[in-house]
Subunit: 483 residues, 2 copies
């Protein structure tokens, strides 16, 4: 019989509400205390969409909670990157370059609405017997030894005691704060020298300068909705913009720029409206017909910072942290939410394997996860460089082409050795640290093959013979024979 005291879970965001479902399904009573009000009461979903990229790890965790199908029904698959050169000067939508993420067309990351997903998870939690969600509970004090927390609420101060206390309360976690001031707690917060700002591409009805026929060509969108759009290589390779599609036919765009430099926020923000528009006309020319509200959005939306948080241990006394609270990462691999969801799934599986002996898995859980969290933190930072600079680089594109050819032909035969890093991270549940190690090995192999079969040689061959030659070399190198 489970302990009568509930699990006290701080945070009913994406990770908190998913974890509540997974724990309650195993018979644990769970009290979830959330700082904000109920987003369902506030019409959260009606606002402008902020979207996230859901990948296989996230889907696997949602399956465990039984809500994957429902979430995927509203998700927009993005099977590749769509590159926007800085030379796009007409409004027809021609001139972008498509790079598939994988040879397998089912391998797609999926654009989902953060607000919509949170509501779906809260609904699922409400419908799971044993979950008790309490909104407008701002955590003011945490007692890790006694699994007790104090909250500021509209009804005054409330104290809740749990069997254990779990913090899924985000990058500025109150539960982690309590750990942080205790002895021998390693902690770091590192900011990128770049920030982000959201912009907006509305549905075609609100785009008077869009060429006729574009909307029909793209199923009612102003650009192809089947990909993650990237304006890379701006500001000498330090700056970029991305866009993800929303179900309402709009796109949410995000600028990722350094603060410093001529293409940085510190220099661009003080520009006059006219100079700002000219700046975008020059560097992001297709925003002329895609972003009629560019100047207003640029002024209205905040410039936010990008932080990586690492710490250890994730357990202190009867407290445990997970998700962003334990490992906030930068968004360039689209893995923040997916990593948090994987935490929830792994913790739930470990508790089930221990026949419900929750306390016994708290240390094994974080020890199993911390290296993976550090690996995806590193990969996310590295991917910033890849996205903003290299995706427009010829040598890099050839490297990627070789990599995908190797994957297509040897992926099934030797999945552990021939699956590229991006694919392992986004389209498998291979632990991040293993993915990083194997990905680096494969990178060396690909570099070797690309030097044996350089782009000049590829040009003189037909695609089929080139692929055969690449596969031949790859089989030798990956099979341990001299290439």
């Amino acid at each position: 019989m489970p302990d009568p005291k509930p699990i006290l879970l701080v945070g009913a965001g994406l990770a908190g509400s998913l974890l509540a479902v997974l724990l309650a399904k195993q018979g644990f009573p769970v009290v979830v205390a959330e700082r904000r009000g109920d987003p369902r009461a506030k019409g959260y979903v009606g606002g402008r969409s902020i979207n996230l990229a859901l990948s296989v790890r996230g889907v696997t965790a949602l399956q465990a909670a039984g809500i994957a199908e429902q979430v995927l029904a509203d998700a927009l698959p993005m099977p590749g990157r769509i590159m926007h050169p800085d030379t796009l000067t007409d409004a027809t939508g021609e001139g972008t370059v498509y790079q598939p993420y994988s040879q397998d067309p089912d391998d797609a990351i999926r654009s989902v609405s953060r607000g919509g997903l949170n509501v779906a998870l809260l609904d699922a939690a409400d419908q799971t017997p044993g979950v008790d969600i309490r909104f407008e509970h701002r955590c003011t004090h945490v007692d890790l030894e006694n699994a007790t927390a104090t909250f500021d609420t509209p009804q005054g101060e409330v104290k809740i005691e749990g069997r254990v206390i779990m913090g899924a309360d985000g990058a500025f976690s109150a539960v982690r704060q309590a750990m942080q001031t205790s002895d021998r707690f390693d902690y770091s917060q590192q900011y990128l020298e770049a920030g982000y700002k959201e912009l907006h591409i509305p549905a075609p009805a609100d785009l008077p300068d869009l060429s006729k026929g574009v909307s029909e060509k793209f199923d009612g969108y102003a650009m192809d909705s089947k990909g993650l759009h990237i304006w890379a290589g701006r500001g000498g390779g330090a700056s970029m913009m991305i866009a993800l599609p929303n179900p309402d036919k709009s796109f949410t765009c995000t600028l990722f720029w350094p603060y410093a430099g001529t293409h940085g926020f510190d220099a661009v923000e003080p520009l006059s409206d006219k100079a700002l528009r000219l700046f975008f006309d020059e560097h992001y020319p297709d925003t002329r017909w895609l972003m009629p509200t560019l100047v207003e959005d640029f002024r209205a939306n905040p410039t936010s910072s990008l932080v990586t948080v690492r710490c250890r241990p994730w357990r202190r006394g009867r407290g445990l942290i997970l998700g962003d609270a334990a490992h906030a990462i930068v968004p360039f691999f689209g893995q923040g939410m997916n990593a948090a969801f994987e935490d929830c799934r792994v913790l739930s599986e470990m508790i089930a394997e221990a026949n419900g002996d929750l306390e016994s898995v708290m240390d094994p859980f974080w020890r199993a996860r911390v290296d993976n969290a550090n690996a995806i933190a590193d990969m996310a930072i590295a991917n910033f460089v890849e996205m903003r600079e290299k995706v427009a680089d010829e040598a890099f594109l050839y490297h990627k082409r070789v990599e995908q050819a190797v994957h297509a032909q040897l992926g099934e035969e030797m999945p552990e050795r021939a699956t590229p890093l991006y694919n392992m991270v986004s389209f498998t549940n291979v632990p991040y640290a293993d993915a990083l190690r194997r990905g680096r090995e494969l990178d060396k192999t690909i570099a070797r093959i690309a030097s044996l079969v350089p782009p000049e040689r590829a040009e003189s061959m037909d695609e089929a013979s080139w692929r055969e030659l690449i596969a031949d070399h790859a089989r030798r190198v990956l099979g341990g024979q001299p290439a």
Copy 2:
């Protein structure tokens, strides 16, 4: 004319009281707010001595404040390391191995009492016109934009506004805490997997088992006072003990042990008194006659952790941090206090060069210091490995011998290239980052020379010819010619 508002300095420890003197000497009014009571009123100095190693950087800063002579009068020079093998089984004091730090006998680190030094600095601050020290002021809130802080005092809450606010308030700095929660503040705290505990070797009068004549041989001490004593290589190289002399003829000892493992605190602390004594008898045999109160001291004194704190920027709004508040380091290079004192001297010099325009140097100051702080943080961690393991290693000792021979013969001719890392850190004011870079270069040179003239060859030569041969090789390598 200086701004009528005082500089608000939080912390009247070693760095805070020194900085108060240096600032007031330039005509700035300074209010120093200190959490603890006045140590002079409490008889701080009468207690057991805790000592620190003062090196050239610290002395240089004390000279700027005009109190170096007074401090050095009570300091005990340690011109080398004194190694205690684990085979010392009689009480005569024979069997230790002396390793000089330098060929120059004046190159010594100096054992000073922390309490005595703090009192000397507080007296100097009190005697400097413009310094106003307020004890029992516990900082509860810091407003960096307005250079204002709130303090809990025996007279209730007190608010003080400064021209600027400076935090010299140690590793758990309240001023840094205020910076830490602001955006884009990089911060890390990393603990070693080792802790420390202080022990005590009393004056010979309290050592009944000490052999006769030892005290006379060592000027009234139970061991040679002219060196830093090290019991290294214990626990398979993971553990060690050190001892520094005090003017009252006692020594303060510190165990540096991992928490884990058979020689670690977690395993040794639960031992019975008898087993504990046997453990020391086996691994630190000379403590039998040197530490009659070992078991009591081991039980009574806390086991403390070892943290490295790094952050940036050190300035936010009208706030600035320095010393341990900005860069707490582990004690294995004996540079924590020296680095903090160097901060004070450099800041004071930069203000003087800017003709008192304090605000204009706050950013240049930390930008000039942060890489040096990170360099000594890294070197201090690396020195833990060197002290606990390598000082007992034959190859390492030969490397050191070659290094000192090179330094002795080429140090004056090419000080930038032939001065070993330890000497640059401890016996010069060369910025830490430069010392680290040059030291690594020299290390490569020494390794090369040691391979050209291996220990076997040294054995077959007289000292003078060996030194000549080493110098010959060194001159070629350092002069850029083939060795």
